[in-house]
């Protein structure tokens, strides 16, 4: 099933040059991560060395080689959020979820990421959960925000 869905994406990129990054981004957005089987499939169908695909997929932050949790928590640590107390918020989220930034909780419920600027600095410090923005967050508000997604 997964392989079929991936085949459709690969079809769009056949016989074109310079497509690897765009192809992997499409796979990422379709599956939310890039499973190993699909990398093998891309390699075989497009005759791109495995090592080459891994190099690209591991270089970019927008691509994930591990599955992500049901809820994605992004804590902004852009400069504006940083000077408004973002690091304290991140500490609190890490403590509450018992994972470090970049990790996923054991029950696969949350993946925590620190991001560099979401472009809504007026709301800083910002925490985004599943695309929903929470502005002017303080460490005291963190539990309350996370509780709604449990």
């Amino acid at each position: 099933m997964e392989l079929e869905r991936a085949d459709k994406i690969i079809d769009r990129y056949q016989n074109k040059q310079g497509i690897l990054i765009q192809l992997l981004l499409d796979v990422q957005s379709e599956f939310n991560w890039i499973p190993k089987e699909l990398i093998v499939q891309i390699s075989e169908r497009l005759q791109i060395p495995l090592s080459h695909i891994y190099r690209v997929a591991s270089f970019y932050k927008g691509m994930s080689l591990t599955p992500i949790g049901r809820h994605l928590v992004q804590v902004c640590l852009g400069t504006a959020c940083h000077v408004r107390g973002g690091p304290k918020v991140l500490d609190k989220v890490e403590e509450a979820l018992k994972v470090n930034a970049g990790e996923t909780t054991k029950d696969m419920n949350f993946t925590l990421r620190r991001v560099n600027c979401l472009g809504c600095c007026a709301l800083g410090p910002v925490v985004v959960v599943d695309g929903e923005y929470h502005g002017k967050v303080t460490s005291a508000k963190v539990e309350e925000i996370l509780a709604t997604y449990k």
Partner: protein, 639 residues
């Protein structure tokens, strides 16, 4: 839609669009930029659509969703035309009252902006001090355009510069005009765009490429995003004019994948422009062909560097390469390639329409035109501001930005992102232009301007940028990869109170080496945040190293929270909110923090009622020993 095949047809089309529009018909514009989107502008839009229908005004009142207006601090912004009534912090439940007021020709007083100085309500957008002190020549059209509708852009004179260039100017003349205007690149270095174009034009090899860099990675900067999301046609028009001047028939738009709306809007814009004949084959019937492709970035700060971006366009890992030969001569697939950022391209139609003379009349000797900044951090009016080059930092931060919140003191402003530097108060009267900022040890960069108040630790800020760059360095060259890592270790030591006297010298030495020996600008400029903080705030480094003290009370390891027994009223608030359960006490028992349990999250400090101010922060001095049980009994009534 039939293709527009001559400049006169374009004019006819424009007249037709305008004649179908009644300038007196009310139009409710709703800002849908990133900031307002985060405030929930989507819901507000639905509420307005529902109200307009519900109050029987369909067809009588227009609703337009626009790109970013700029005044993000007060989002969601709603502006009513033609009167230009500006409502701030609008909520979905306000829709009914606003629509009713449009019907009655009235103003909803309570949603107007209140001037903090005079206390007066301001009706018109252009009279709000935040907007009044700007000159929004590039960014101003954002608020008048639905980015998904090409007709809005055409109604404002869109694509007339392209028509002028193609039919009334030879490619050489276009190039000369841009050179004469002295348009300098808005992406970072400030290299003259005209000279770059000329190099590519004269370089051997075909095809030639033109590229838009929308890989805006500086944390705290979102100008390019807002322009790309809000007015994509202005960028496309500039790019096409550039392509004509250079002799290129293929262009790329490189957008970070973190900007999905920018990708969507520019893709729509390209499709519409092709449909109308402003892109593709035989543009306007001039015989000039030009095609554009969108390429999504995949999340790497380094990919904003010109050679790295071009490598990424080829589909490989976006790492920089040595530039013994400039990318203008050998870029994408080793062909001559011009890369400029979003704002630079968006300036081009203005130069062609109004002339180099007009453009060069704005700004300073060496920096012409306007510049868009994202004014963020500890400032009252967070937002995007566009000012003529040469305005002072003070004017931007105080007249437009409204100064520092909560009565705190200004400490420094950071410009230029991780490659830039930190500018202290004594230089607030410096004019903002490429050369003046470089002289201060910082740089213009792409336009991030982060204001910092007295509670910001400068060593921590330097460490923040070094940490950011450590993660983002591609690792290809040793000076950058190892130099940054070593710098991070040294700064980590300093902020943790483990700094040594010779660390400052070591940081300076590392900086010198990285500046000279790094492969690309990321490494070569990476030490700027460290060098400028050392230059202007050397005493803070000394306090951390010699006294183990963080003057701004930021560095966790050097700060201790303590409850002043003479002020504590045993109200239990800090005790109940302490996430580490480090506070002991009772109703009539003065609270004490157990330092061995304290995680220094600062919750107690934030929660202690302002009338008590019992929780204090200590740094560089010993924490007083805990009181005995008897001493902790609170004697009510006296302080």
């Amino acid at each position: 839609m039939a293709r527009v095949s001559s400049p006169s047809e374009l004019e006819r089309l424009r007249e037709e669009i305008l004649s179908n529009r009644d300038p007196n018909k009310p139009c409710i514009t709703i800002c849908s930029g990133t900031g307002c989107h985060a405030y929930g502008s989507e819901k507000i839009n639905s509420a307005f659509v529902k109200e307009v229908k519900g109050q029987g005004l369909e067809g009588k009142v227009d609703i337009r969703r626009t790109g970013c207006h700029g005044f993000c601090e007060r989002g969601t912004l709603v502006v009513i035309y033609p009167e230009e009534i500006c409502y701030v912090q609008v909520q979905p439940e306000d829709a009914s009252e606003v629509v009713q007021s449009v019907k009655d020709g009235k103003v909803v007083e309570r949603l107007l902006y209140t001037d903090p100085v005079s206390g007066k309500k301001i009706v018109r957008e252009s009279e709000i001090p935040f907007y009044k002190n700007q000159s929004r020549t590039v960014f101003g059209n954002n608020r008048r355009i639905d980015p998904q509708n090409i007709e809005d852009y055409l109604a404002l004179g869109g694509y007339s510069a392209l028509a002028k260039a193609l039919f009334h100017m030879a490619p050489d003349q276009v190039l000369e005009e841009v050179k004469k205007a002295n348009l300098r690149g808005r992406g970072g270095g400030g290299f003259p765009a005209g000279r770059k174009w000329e190099t590519t034009r004269n370089a051997p090899g075909e095809p030639k490429y033109v590229i838009v860099n929308c890989d805006e990675g500086d944390p705290g900067a979102y100008m390019d995003r807002s322009l790309m999301e809000g007015n994509p046609h202005s960028v496309l028009e500039g790019l096409t004019i550039g392509a004509y001047a250079i002799g290129s028939h293929e262009g790329f738009i490189y957008v970070r994948q973190e900007y999905p709306l920018a990708v969507e809007n520019v893709t729509t814009a390209i499709n519409q422009a092709e449909e109308y004949g402003f892109l593709g084959e035989n543009i306007f019937g001039s015989g000039f062909d030009f095609r554009v492709k969108v390429h999504r970035g995949a999340g790497a700060f380094i990919s904003g560097e010109s050679s790295a971006l071009m490598t990424a366009l080829e589909g490989i890992v976006g790492e920089p390469r040595p530039k013994y030969i400039h990318t203008a001569v050998s870029g994408v697939w080793e062909k001559p390639s011009v890369l400029n950022n979003v704002e630079t391209w968006a300036n081009v139609p203005l130069i062609i329409n109004n002339g180099a003379k007009w453009f060069a009349s704005i700004g300073t000797e060496g920096s012409k035109g306007t510049k868009i900044f994202s004014l963020v951090g500890n400032v009252n009016n967070t937002g995007l501001v566009e000012v003529p080059m040469g305005m002072t930092l003070r004017d931007i931060i105080y007249n437009i930005g409204g100064g520092i919140p909560k009565g705190k003191k200004f400490k420094a402003v950071q410009t230029g992102g991780p490659s830039g530097g930190i500018i202290p108060e004594q230089h607030l009267d410096a004019p903002v232009d490429f050369d003046a900022l470089t002289k201060l040890g910082s740089m213009m960069g792409s336009g991030g301007m982060i204001v910092m108040d007295e509670e910001t630790c400068m060593v921590d800020v330097a460490r923040y940028f070094v940490d950011f760059l450590c993660d983002e360095s591609c690792g290809k060259c040793v000076p950058c990869r190892e130099g940054l890592e070593r710098m991070r270790q040294v700064l980590d030591d300093i902020v943790q109170g483990k700094g040594k006297k010779e660390d400052v010298e070591l940081l300076e030495e590392l900086s010198r080496l990285m500046t000279k020996a790094s492969l690309c600008a990321l490494g070569a400029t990476a030490s700027n945040p460290v060098l400028t903080t050392l230059r202007y705030f050397g005493d803070e480094y000394r306090a951390h190293i010699e006294e183990k003290r963080c003057p701004a009370f930021v560095c966790k390891e050097l700060v201790f929270y303590h409850i002043d027994p003479s002020k504590c009223q045993a109200c239990l608030i800090c005790l109940r909110n302490c996430p580490a359960e480090a506070i002991s006490g009772d109703k009539n028992q003065i609270h004490v923090i157990d330092q061995s349990k304290c995680t220094k999250c600062g919750t107690c400090f934030d929660m202690c009622p302002p009338r008590f101010q019992a929780v204090i922060r200590l740094s560089g001095e010993p924490v007083p020993p805990p009181l005995s049980k008897e001493q902790r009994v609170l004697a009510r009534g006296k302080k």
